[in-house]
Amino acid sequence: MTKNNSASALESIGPTAVGNQHAVPYNLPHHLPDEPLVIIEPSQSWPRLDFREVWTYRELLYFLVWRDIKVRYKQTALGVVWVVMQPLLTTLLFTLILGRLVGIASDGIPYALFVYAGMLPWTFFASAVTSSSNSLVGNSHLITKVYFPRVLIPVAAIAARLLDLAVAFAVLIVLMVYYRVAMGPGILMLPVYVALVMLFALALGMLSSALNVKYRDVAVMIPFLFQLWMFASPVVYPSSLVPGKWRWLYELNPMAGIIEGFRSALFGRGFDWPGLATSTIIILVMLVGASFLFRRMQSSFADIV
């Protein structure tokens, strides 16, 4: 203890303090805290959510997102071009087949623009859930070697797809200029829908990534599931085509409300407020359920992954 006192006395003098720092190369705890920083115990069966801990690991989240983006673009020759090409080509395909040949109604908006505006949230949603469902298994080398809140992994996988969404959005603006469709004040609602689709992707991402640790079928099943789901959502057709008596069932799919909401925000049409409320409630319930399930399963990730 006397040594510490003399060290602090020296520090106030100046140059000598520098020499003293070499003698003590590390920041050592001179006093141990009264309460343990970490208590390791078997977790309860329904552990509580620890948002504070996730917050303290925000820098790791940043690096994980940064890694996902960087690696994805480094390995592809065309890089960001793919992000643009994928929804554009799909849009082109649907425009030729459904717009020209079948002649599906598109609520008075040019069909290509209509489809592209639907592809925007859908592609983000599908790619975010798909990549996050594989994320825990894909990062098993981290999970078995270091501690950090496990939820960062599926969250990072989803967040990394936001860049794709931003790029695709820039293309949308170009398309809107080309088709001379103006944005209205409704665009202010777009962030709400983006937040909703993110939360929904997060709920499904947590659920599928956790289940995929134990049952690898989940990640195999998802792309197939999403193919069907796309046609159960108003991506290539307007939800006004759905017969009235089935509408209530149709709107239990939160993506229906979100995709129509995207179009309303972009093309300045009226919002479906009850639909928005229904989607929000369903998503929040799923999010709470998924995060509890994730918490409950995460203690065994390192043992079974």
């Binding site: 343990p36 390791i40 115990e41 890694r67 501690y147 690898r216 989940v218 065994s300 079974i304």
Partner: protein, 437 residues
């Protein structure tokens, strides 16, 4: 004084033959998901001991701030499980641990390294994964790069690195972590000898810096150099705790895999023929029969045999083989090859039981496993007994030759040889050579 780590009754149970992820089929997924509540119920009623194993059982210990504690044990003794629990990678089944400081764990170097990213990018990624803040990494960046000696390749993807460069960079990041408690698992078992020495130095520096360290290694030598205190784990239980040298000795003498002795009681079926039969072969070291030998101690190979033909002229011989069954040496009790004197060599032996002892000096063999072939011959050339791999023993490093270098010593033997250096001249250049000669 209050400990910085307190572990109480820590236990971890694993399912035996736990289903590995990935071999669950789709139908099982569906029935599994539907039947999950039922299965939990069923498991409650089953005897859990029948299908589970305790990787760690009721382990208690305390570590005080600034201590460097080694954990010793065979593979599967629970060392890694203990470290994984303390690093919070996996949860204990029962028990509790309290940590009064920030924890950094080094269960592997280069965790999170991505082959596509450059050295520079990986330093940041790996640092963040290990729990460093971005500002901290930026501050230590130059130091890390200097330690790794890879500055020319900083912007090359690490997939193009040689394995040596990769390891150096990975260890450099790890070496610059400074949590209050550091958990280390055998990371030194990689890289070339020079780099291992550098790592060991760095570890020693960390240990002397007053950090609290829990260190796991199979390398008893490095444990002896780095740790003042050690804990011995046997099958998940703590079997000893105390000064490292004592615990290492307990480990060497306690956990016998092979007894170090082979005995044949029946002269009719023992190796040999109607002239000579083998009775026993044993290893005696440090005053006892053992298969675990301290590198410093002499190894006595004792061969006992029955002579059944009075008047036979007998010679005894051994082959020493390394773990790959490559011959290290052969020796016999003939006068010209004997440091001592054996009056029975090639003399007529009356009927009876004989013992011949060969002493292999201490500080001669390298660490590792050795096998002994025992041979008994008549008239110097006729092999009557040839007991292949009659005994096997393992030489352990206790730390005596580990003061400076902790890595693997090249070679089958590691004798202590005489070394000396002198300064020939104070000049440098061709003329200095002339003067010197």
């Amino acid at each position: 004084m209050k400990p910085i780590i307190r572990v109480e009754g820590l236990s971890k149970q694993y399912q035996v033959g736990a289903r590995k992820a990935g071999d669950t089929s789709l139908s099982e997924t569906i029935t599994g998901a539907l039947g999950a509540p039922l299965r939990v119920m069923r498991r409650r009623f089953k005897d859990p001991a029948a299908e589970t194993v305790w990787a760690l059982k009721d382990v208690d210990f305390e570590v005080h701030s600034g201590e460097v504690v080694g954990v010793i044990g065979r593979n599967g003794a629970g060392k890694s499980t203990l470290l994984k629990i303390l690093s919070r990678i996996t949860e204990p089944t029962t028990g509790r641990a309290e940590l009064y400081g920030r924890v950094g764990s080094l269960l592997e170097v280069g965790t999170g390294f991505h082959p596509e990213l450059t050295g520079r990018e990986n330093v940041f990624l790996n640092g963040a994964v290990m729990g460093m803040r971005r500002g901290e990494i930026q501050r230590k960046f130059d130091e890390i790069v200097a330690f790794a000696e890879i500055d020319r390749f900083l912007d090359t993807p690490v997939k193009r690195y040689s394995s040596g460069m990769y390891m150096r960079l990975a260890f450099a990041v790890a070496a610059h972590l400074d949590p209050e408690i550091l958990l280390v698992d055998e990371v030194l078992a990689v890289g070339d000898a020079a780099f291992q020495a550098k790592c060991l130095d760095k570890m020693g520096e960390v240990a002397k810096g007053g950090r609290t360290v829990i260190y796991i290694s199979h390398n008893l030598g490095s444990l002896a150099t780095l740790c003042q205190r050690a804990i011995l784990l046997v099958e998940g239980r703590k079997c000893g705790e105390g000064p490292t040298v004592e615990i290492i000795n307990q480990y060497i003498s306690g956990g016998r895999e092979v007894s170090g002795e082979r005995i044949w009681l029946d002269p009719q079926s023992a190796p040999g023929n109607e002239k000579i039969r083998l009775h026993s072969v044993r290893i005696v070291s440090g005053g006892e029969v053992t298969a675990e030998v301290d590198i410093q101690n002499d190894v006595r190979v004792e061969i006992e045999f029955w002579n059944l033909r009075p008047g036979a002229r007998i010679m005894t011989s051994i082959h020493l083989l390394d773990k790959m069954r490559v011959g290290v040496l052969s020796s016999a009790n003939m006068h010209s090859a004997n440091l001592a004197h054996d009056e029975w060599f090639n003399q007529p032996h009356p009927e009876g039981l004989y013992r011949t002892v060969c002493t292999i000096p201490g500080n001669f063999l390298n660490e590792g496993r050795y096998h002994i072939n025992a041979l008994v011959l008549t008239d110097v050339m006729n092999i009557e007994v040839f007991a292949e791999e009659a005994v096997t023993f393992t030489v352990h490093e206790s730390g005596a030759m580990r003061k400076e270098f902790g890595g693997h010593w090249l070679g089958v033997v590691r004798p202590r040889l005489a070394w000396q250096s002198e300064r020939l001249n104070d000049a440098v250049g061709p003329h200095s050579l002339e003067q010197a000669s």
